[in-house]
Every structure is written in C-alpha cells, then in structure tokens.
C-alpha cells in the first residue's frame, strides 16, 4: 500500500521564504553574541531546519518525536560546544580555530534544533506559529535593545552610522521593526493560491509602509517614574488615585496636555499647581531607573557652588494639616512659573533680588512629559522656542534663571521674613504642625549656636541643616506614609528616610524658628557625575525634594540637606555621549554632533526606485528573450517538438497549461472545445516523438496542425485574454 505524503501547511515557495526569515532572524539574534562563523552556521542551520521540518512533517514524523529530537539537539549543542573547547582531540587546532569551530557547532546545532522543533509544532497546530512570530520579532528586538529608555546613541554601530548620515536612529530602528514584523507574519501563512498569496503580501507591504509612515514621527511617551510625582504620567496616576480616594487632598489637579506636534514645544499652560496635594511620602522604595527625562542646554558657563544643579518643577508651601502641598490659592509662590510658555514669554513675580544673583540663560528640552515646566532654579522667565525635533522632545522652551552668585556668608545678618509681607503671607510660610516637638527640637538644636548669631535666621537654618545631615540616615526603605504626620515620625523616630522626609522636616523646623521655608521638587544634578559640555542630561533617578528658605531682600534660596549616612548606591555616571548627543540635537544638529553637521543625507529613494525598476525590467527582459527564442525555435530548425512546445507556450501564457498529473491526451481533450485541432496534433506529436523516424509528410502535417491550432486558439479567445497572453513573459515556465 502506497502511503501518501502528509499535506504540508505551506507550499514549497512559502517554505523557502520562511527558511529565509528564520535564517535572518537567527543571524540578527546571533549578531551580538556569536563569531561571524557561528553566526553563519546558526543562520544556515535555522534555514535548513525549516526545510527539513517540512520534509519530515510530510513524511509523517510524530510531532512528539520531532520535539524530542529538537530538545536533544539543544542539549547536545551545549554539551558538544563545551566538549569541543575542552577536548584534547583537536589540540592541533589553533585556539582561534577551536573557538570558532565550537561556536559554529554550538550555534548551528542550537538554532537548527529550536527551529526544527518550532516549525514542527507550527505545522501541527497553528497556534504555535505565534511563538515563531515572537521569536523573530524578539530576535530583532534583542539585537537593538540597547536603545531602550531613550538611549538613542545605542547600539553604537547603528546609531553612529545613522547620526553621521543625519538620520535619526529611531527611524532606522522603527523601519527595522516594521520589516521584522512583516517577515514574522509570513511565518503565519499557510498553503494559498499564488495569486491570493501575492495580493496578500502586497497588501501586507502597504500596511507595513503605512504604519511606518504614520508612526515614524510620532513621539514615544515613555512612562518614567521618579517617585516624586514629577512626570505627567505619575501625575495622571495620582489624579486617578485621588479621584478614587481622598479628593480633599487635591491641589489644582491635572497636568497639561501638550501640543506635541506643533514644533513649538511648550504647554498650553492650563496646568500649574499640578495636584501635588497628594501625599508625597509614598514613593517607591526602589531608586527610579536612570531614564533621560530632559536636556538643559546652557548658553553661558555656569559653575555651581556646591556641585549640584537644581532643576525645580514646583514648590510645596501650604501646610494642609498633614504635610506641605502646592498652594492652590494663587496668592503665594508667584515666583514659581507653573505654566509652559505657548506664544509669549512668561515672567515670574520679582521676588528674587537680582543683585545677589547671576542671570543664567538656558534652554530646556523635555524628553518626558511633565505637568509643569522644569527649569534651573530659580527661573524668572520662560520663553517659547522652536522644538528642533518634535519626535524626540516633548517640549522646548528658553529659561532665564537667577543663580545665587553671592557667598552665603554675605547673607548673614538678614532676617527671613520680609517686613513687607502681610500677616497672611507670614502665617502661610511659617505655619507648622500643632506639634510642640518641632519647636522644642529646633530650640534644642539651636541651644549651642554661637551667641553672635543667636538671632540670625540664616545661621539658625544652617544649624538645623547641619543637625539633620549628621543625625539623619538616607534610605528609601522607610515611608511613614500611614503616619498622621510622616515628617514627625521621621524626625522624632530614628531619622531614617529619604529626601521628602528631610525636606519636610527641615521646613517644619525652619518654620518653627520663624524662618520662611517651603519644599521644592524637581531634579538635582550632580555636576561631578556629568560631562564637560554645555548640556546637562537630567535623569529620572535624580528626582529630588529639597527645602528652600526665604531671606528678606534676597529671595528664595535652595537649602538642601545632605545626609552624611546613606544606604543608597552612588548615582550612575551620566552617559556622556548621550548627554552631548542630545545636547547637539537640541541645538538642531541632526547628527547629534557625530557628523559634520552640514550633512543633509536623505534616503536615496530615487536610486532605490530606479534600481527596483531596472531589476524588474531585467527580469521581464529575460522572460521575453526566452519566450522569443522558444517561439523562434521551430523556424530555426527545432523540429516537431519545438513547434509543439511553442504552441503549448501560447496556451500556458493564458493559463491553459497542462495540469500536474494530466496526460497530453487529456490536456488536448480538455482544450478540444477551444482548439479542435489540438487532439489530432497531440496524437501526431506523440507518434513522432515516440514512434521513431517518420516520413516527411507527417512533419508537414504536424506543421499544418500547429498552424490550424494557433488560428483556432486566436479566434476562440477574447482580445483582452490574448493581450494578457502576449504580455505574459513567463507563461513558458508552466509549459510541461
């Protein structure tokens, strides 16, 4: 009994295409980890395994056995790879050759085994094709995963090339994603008619192109967690939580929806205040990941006095009975700009006295949505500027900041509360919890103050700051979130906490001694952990809260606490290349400083188009030439077979070719209604072909029948179908 082949789920052509996809996926995956030989072996074995799996499937290989073979192959790959390196059998080989051979053996076996098993499973149940798609897309993602979290300067080999050509690496990466996904989807195709397959693949290309076209300029809104509610996403999450829970704690609520595509940057300015009424003592116990959130470009040199640059986003000055929140009355903190500049320059209330400060112009380019503008503290003016790269930066604006240029020692002797302040303002900035322990602790701290400075607010503040720095322990593991007064729990407990605890405790202690204080939230960038350039890359893990105190006649000053003890890991160094690259991009240099800046490289679509057209033309030409030669062969003395074949070519060109397993006689009978002369012609041809030498009159008869058949064929077909037949360059391929 003859056993028939199990029907394959895909045709041979599709299987070859899938082998190519698997080979490319394997090559992509191995590009990071294998030697070139290992890569070639892996890709080749993956491609061969696709064809082998199809072959074995059609020969009724048990799926379980196939998967077991694949598993054994995977294990063998590991064992043989190691064995090859360790064995002394190949001691005559050089070290390099041994490593390359082991690599080829390991990756070849591994890729072949995985592919073989997956292909068999996919042939068995289509649901397993989903794994194949994941594998192919995952291979590409693995190769380029370094660029995640806005690290667009990676992978180097791609980013450097793209930037040197003036191409945004994101475009290349997205293009690769589109191509990979399209190739992966091909793995889902099952047996189809050729026409349907071609139409579907063409439609697939259009879909891929459309997705690329529409998504290439769309900004990725990465969700960045700072732990302090600084980003828009965190604000939305807070607002959501707030609407579900304690609405009474609401500040102004809501960030701003920015118009990201206008190239102008900035916000519509509806936000402000930002809903920081939510309890700030609830951040994650983990240090936020160091994702880039913004780039600041300095227009002038700036030397920070304490090595820290404070980029403030908002301030908390209103005591709500539990902790400090954003003042939503609009009467206070007018020196803090809480709206993005849209069309006009925004200026802060003149609280800071410029005589003590230096004006520092900067440009801010936000990579992540923030509900309020972020600016070097203390910002006094925000100017709308053009966003140089809307697909990269969420917002862009210019900032004029006032940075203290006077030595702190020269501020000694000034009081904190401005005599011109109204009683309400004084009360606003001095209000503390109804807990006498704050004042008692502050007085205890100040007991040892130098009598010369006993009444000096700045010195008092310094004493308190010093106390907290010595006694406090910086850790993220303690929250005190559920305590009625988290700052008291921190301060009167073991003094273990993080910046929010320190900032609130300091503000309460300052206020208890009549020093106007508030808490600022933003990012504190250590200048020692950054590059030398004029741009500063701000990372999410630099999110920080710090106290600010007011000095009458001067303004608000950052008065940060630096605990001497900490269990926190030192912050990672900023990727200097990324910092400078983003800085250059912010300045409008597409190359990120890698190219010569004048490069205006563009994808050579015209060349690509002409090349495709030329290849297409060449393919057509080859088809027509072969067809022409086959047509001319009878006239060139090709014999009766050539005449017969030339006639059959005509039939094939319009889809009337002989089917598989169809005899010549049956084919002739099938077309007899169309070409009545074909059956006798076929008989005659067979007689001449199989019957040995024949008289010349039979050859003449065959030529006559050929001519008659051709005439009948022409007469029977509609004009459009004949035209299609004439234009078809590869109809002869189907002649059999």
């Amino acid at each position: 009994m003859k056993r028939t082949l199990r029907p394959g789920r895909e045709s041979a052509g599709i299987a070859r295409m899938q082998a190519l996809v698997y080979g490319l996926a394997a090559a992509l995956y191995l590009a990071r980890i294998a030697t070139p030989v290992g890569l070639a072996a892996g890709a080749a074995c993956a491609a061969i395994a696709v064809l082998l799996a199809r072959f074995m499937w059609r020969r009724h290989l048990k799926v379980g056995v196939g998967v077991a073979i694949a598993a054994v192959g995977g294990v063998a790959a590991t064992l043989f790879g190691d064995w090859f390196l360790d064995t002394s059998l190949f001691s005559s080989l050089s070290a390099r050759t041994t490593i390359v051979a082991a690599d080829a053996l390991y990756f070849g076996l591994l890729c072949g085994s995985v592919t073989f098993g997956l292909r068999l499973l996919a042939a068995w149940r289509q649901i397993f094709s989903v794994l194949e798609v994941a594998l192919v897309v995952g291979s590409a993602a693995y190769t380029f995963l370094d660029h995640r979290n806005l690290n667009i300067h990676r992978p180097r080999f791609l980013a450097d090339w793209a930037l040197s050509q003036g191409i945004d690496p994101a475009l290349i990466l997205q293009g690769l994603g589109v191509i990979t996904a399209l190739m992966a989807i091909v793995l889902l195709v099952r047996a189809q008619r050729l026409s349907k397959l071609l139409i579907s693949l063409f439609a697939l290309l259009i879909v891929g192109g459309a997705v690329y076209w529409f998504s290439k300029d769309v900004l990725i809104e990465m969700e960045v967690v700072t732990g302090l509610g600084l980003t828009d996403q965190e604000q939305k999450d807070k607002d959501k939580g707030k609407s579900e829970g304690d609405k009474g704690e609401d500040g102004k609520g809501g960030g701003s929806e920015k118009d990201k595509g206008d190239g102008k940057g900035g916000s519509d300015g509806k936000g402000g205040g930002g809903g920081s009424g939510k309890n700030p003592f609830g951040g994650s116990s983990q240090q936020p990941p160091p994702h880039p959130v913004a780039v600041a470009v300095f227009h002038d040199d700036l030397e920070s006095k304490n090595g820290i640059l404070y980029f403030r986003q908002q301030v908390l000055s209103h005591y709500d009975g539990n902790h400090l929140v954003v003042d939503d009355s609009g009467d206070y903190d007018k020196d803090v700009l809480t709206e993005f500049p849209q069309t006009q320059t925004l200026a802060a209330a003149p609280v800071q006295r410029e005589a003590f400060f230096t004006r520092v112009p900067t440009s801010m380019y936000l990579l992540v949505d923030h509900p309020q503008p972020l600016a070097l503290s203390s910002s006094v003016q925000l100017t709308p500027t053009e966003n140089p790269n809307p697909s990269r930066f969420v917002a862009a604006y210019g900032v004029i900041s006032l940075v203290l240029s006077t030595d702190y020692r020269r501020l000694v002797g000034r009081g904190s509360v401005d005599p011109e302040w109204s009683p309400e303002r004084v009360e606003h900035y001095l209000k503390t919890p109804d807990d006498p322990r704050y004042a008692a602790l502050a007085e205890e701290i100040l007991r040892d103050i130098d009598p010369r400075f006993a009444g000096d607010d700045l010195m008092k503040a310094l004493m308190i700051k010093r106390y907290l720095e010595v006694e406090g322990f910086y850790t993220r593991t303690v929250k005190y979130k559920s305590d009625e007064d988290p700052a008291a729990a921190f301060l009167f407990g073991d003094k273990r906490g993080y910046c929010v605890h320190f900032a609130h405790s300091a503000a309460h202690l300052f206020r208890s001694q009549g020093i106007a204080a508030r808490v600022a939230i933003g990012y504190a960038v250590d200048t020692n952990a950054r590059g030398e350039g004029s741009s500063v890359l701000i990372l999410a893990d630099r999110a920080h809260a710090w106290p600010e105190i007011h000095i009458a006649g001067v303004g608000w000053l950052p008065f940060d606490i630096y605990p001497q003890r900490s269990d926190e890991k030192p912050p990672q160094l900023v990727e200097r290349s990324l910092e400078s690259m983003l800085g250059e991009m912010a300045r409008g240099d597409k190359t990120g400083g890698i190219g010569d800046g004048d490069s205006d490289w563009a994808m050579p679509w015209a060349t690509i188009g002409w090349s495709i057209l030329a290849i297409f033309g060449l393919v057509l030409l080859v088809g027509y030439v072969v067809r022409g030669l086959r047509l001319l062969r009878p006239a060139l003395g090709g014999g009766h077979a050539a005449a017969f074949v030339a006639l059959l070519d005509g039939f094939s060109a319009v889809g009337l070719q002989r089917a598989t397993d169809e005899t010549r006689e049956r084919h002739a009978q099938r077309l007899a209604a169309l070409v009545p002369s074909l059956p006798p012609l076929t008989q005659l041809h067979l007689r001449l072909a199989l019957g040995g030498p024949a008289p010349a009159e039979l050859h003449a008869e065959l030529r006559r029948l050929c001519a008659a058949s051709r005439a009948e064929f022409r007469g029977a077909l509609p004009i459009w179908r004949r035209a299609v037949g004439i234009l078809n360059p590869y109809g002869w391929v189907r002649t059999r």
Binding site: R3, I127, L182, K196, I220, M222
Partner: protein, 424 residues
C-alpha cells in the same frame, strides 16, 4: 441554568461573534502586551513599530474578514431560498448549483464551507471563473430535507475568521452506491454455496467454460486451449436447471452499515435474491417485494440505526414460512444489540441463514517495520477492521453462513485474511 452558566453561555456566544481565531487572539494580546511593556514603557522603537505592524495587520485582517462576510452575505441573495431537489448515490459528486464569490482580488481573505447538517457530506468549493461552485459528495445514504451550511471567511494568516450559518430547504435522496463489477466476481467465488448466479444454482460438474476474468483461480484455466488459441478460458460449474428459490432479505441498520447497504443494492438490482423476493429493512413499515421499494427501505433505514434488528419479529409474522428457508441478512460491520436479536431469530429459522456484510477499511496497513513505528505517525487506518474477526465469530455462532465482502476490492474476506486481522 445558574447565573455563572448563563454568563458563560453568553460569553461564548459573544466570542463567537468576534472575528478572531485563537492564534489571532494570542498574537493580538502578545503584541498589545509587548507594545505596552517594552514599546511604550521602555521606548523600544523596534518593538513599538513591530507591534504596530502586527496589530495593524490583525486589524486589517479583521476588517477584511468582516467586510468580506458582509459582501458575502449580500451576494448570497436569494440563492439559499431556492428549494434544492436531487437524487444521487453515495460517493457521487453533486453540484448543488450554489455559487459564491471567490474574493479572488481581495487581499488577506479566503472562504471555506462545511455542512453542519446533515452530517456525512463532504462539500467543496470548485473554482469556476470568478466564483466558487459548491460540489458535494455524500458518504452515506439517506434523505435530506434541509441543509445547514457554515461559511467561514478567514484571513490567509489564520488570525481572523468569521462564520455565517445558513439554512436551505432541500429534498435530496442519497441511495447507497452500487457495488462495482469486482463484487460480482467476489460473489461468484461463493458459487456452490447458493449465491453464484441469479437464475440458477451452479452445483454441477465443472464442465462449462467461459473467458477468463480477473480473480478466477488459475487451476481452472484451460492451458491446452490457451496453447491452441492464445485465449484464456476457465472451467465453470454446470448451472443448476432449477431456478434459485426466492429469498427473504433483511437489512439490519447499524453503525458502519454503508458498505453493506451498497452490497444490498447490488443484490437487489442484480436479482440475487430471486424473482419474487421479500425484503425488509429496519424501520420500514412493510415488506417490499420489488427492487425500488426495497432500495427505499434501505435508504430510510439510516434513521433507525439505533434499533437494528427490531423488525425481525415482524418479518417472521409477515413472510411465508417456506421462504424463511432462504434468508439473507445484510448486517452492519459493527457490533450491537442487533446481534442478539439476529441470533435469537436465526434459531427459529428452518435452515441456517446467509449473512452478508461488507467493509470498506484497508485490509493491509502500510508496512511500518524497523524503526519507523517509533518516529512515524501511524497511518489513518480505521481500527474497526481489527474487530471484524470477533464479529465474524459471533455471527458464525448464530449458525448462519457468513460472507464478508471487502467492497473496495470486491474480494471476499476469507479465513486467511481474518486470521491476519486477528493479529492487528
């Protein structure tokens, strides 16, 4: 029905309306998760674009499938309102005249068809220009009064599928297939035992001769005649002068009775039951005495498979007792309660009955020697044939003479084959 069950029921119905396959659901969920987890949260440009493409393709597939379903539904028009009337034999192709669009130039989508009711039909779509034409092959006899079809429009990637279920009234009569000519040879080999010829009982000497035909034993070939004439002739028994007495036929319906129904039709149409036979089939209201009525009874018996042999008592009451000496039972090739009824009835007969059954299954499973049995899937050969020896033994125990016909080859399955089957 509890609330949970009701919810589950409605959830299933709702999912049925979703144009998504399991693979599509998995791809969609996987792409959405990857897009959210890596594409957006971690700003992975490659995965973001890739997931967008996958989701876009999924969306397009669903859109085209739904659009195709809509167009298909509209294009059906009044086609299924037509009452369908046909007569056909089992195994024969029937073109129902239903034409549906091919969607030849539509990307992504393709269409398939199956008959939900009645079962036992294998419809297929044959390309005819820009349309598909429905053709169907019946695999069992019966009468069909309505057809429920399920048209499935799906995409070429297997991500999306949408089914439309349509009903059409019909009056289709499916008669058992007529046995082929080799069956005649098989029956002739049983000559001497009562069934070799319709009009005579060939019980005489081997004195007659005829042209050799396939299946004739070589020992009956007249080699001397062949040497003279170069024609193969064989000796055959002398035919009985007395016509074969008319028989009583009874068709027992049951599982896997279609081959036997085919053999029964052969008996009826070739007159192998004699000139004036009586025939009863399970479920038939009366006794048929002509071929047409008998065939209709066989066709109708398909609905009484669960009650095989229940009409035997009626047979005894209705038929002339003299005829019961030549009883032929046509029985299904599967065990069942009918076997006990048949055994009980056989004991009341004046002479041992003849029992005929036919099978379709492969007699010789493909060789899977060596290591192949370990790695190669077993061919899809029905295992029912392995039960045949046991059935044969039980039928033999009734006292009847059992003849098993292998319908595809027309051969009688003899003791040698049965012994081989015992070892399957």
């Amino acid at each position: 029905m509890s609330r949970a069950r009701r919810t589950l029921h409605w959830a299933r119905r709702l999912v049925g309306y979703l144009p998504l396959s399991w693979a599509g659901l998995a791809v969609g969920l996987g792409a959405a998760f990857t897009l959210s987890r890596y594409g957006l949260d971690q700003a992975d440009f490659t995965l973001r674009a890739g997931c967008f493409v996958v989701l876009a393709v999924l969306g397009c597939a669903m859109l085209f499938v739904l659009l195709g379903a809509l167009v298909f539904n509209l294009s059906l028009g009044q086609a299924l309102k037509r009452h369908l009337e046909h007569d056909l034999d089992v195994g024969a192709d029937l073109s129902t005249g239903l034409r549906i669009p091919r969607f030849k130039w539509w990307p992504f989508i393709d269409i398939s068809l199956e008959w939900l009711d009645p079962p036992g039909f294998e419809p297929r779509l044959v390309v005819d220009g820009g349309q598909y034409v429905e053709q169907v092959t019946a695999v069992e006899r019966g009468r069909i009064f309505g057809i429920t079809r399920r048209f499935t429009i799906r995409d070429v990637f297997g991500l999306s599928a949408f089914s439309l279920i349509k009903h059409q009234t019909a009056a289709i009569r499916v008669a058992p297939a007529m046995g082929d000519t080799e069956l005649a040879v098989a029956l002739r080999h049983s000559s001497g035992d009562g069934y070799s010829h319709p009009s005579g009982k060939p019980v005489g000497e081997m004195i007659e001769m005829r042209r050799y035909s396939a299946g004739d034993p070589l020992r009956f070939v007249l080699w001397k005649a062949y040497a003279r004439t170069r024609k193969l002739l064989v000796r055959t028994p002398e035919r009985a002068l007395m016509p074969q007495p008319s028989a009583v036929g009874y068709f027992v319906a049951g599982e896997r009775d279609e081959p036997t129904a085919s053999t029964t039709r052969y008996f009826l149409e070739r007159g192998l039951l004699g000139q004036s036979f009586s025939f009863v089939a399970d479920g038939a209201p009366g006794i048929a005495t002509n071929t047409a009525d008998a065939l209709e009874a066989v066709i109708d018996s398909v609905h009484h498979r669960a009650h095989g042999g229940e009409g035997l008592d009626r047979l005894a009451a209705a038929v002339d007792p003299r005829q019961l000496g030549h009883c032929v039972f046509f029985v299904p090739a599967s065990d069942g309660p009918w076997l006990d009824r048949l055994a009980a009835f056989s004991r009341t007969l004046p002479a041992p009955p003849s029992i005929v059954l036919a099978v379709d299954d492969e007699l010789e499973p493909p060789s899977r020697g060596g290591t192949r049995r370990w790695w190669q899937e077993a061919p899809t050969v029905s295992r029912e044939l392995s039960k045949l020896p046991a059935l044969y033994d039980r039928l033999r125990a009734t006292g009847g003479e059992v003849r098993i016909v292998h319908r595809p080859t027309g051969r009688l399955i003899g003791p040698v084959e049965l012994d081989a089957l015992r070892r399957l």
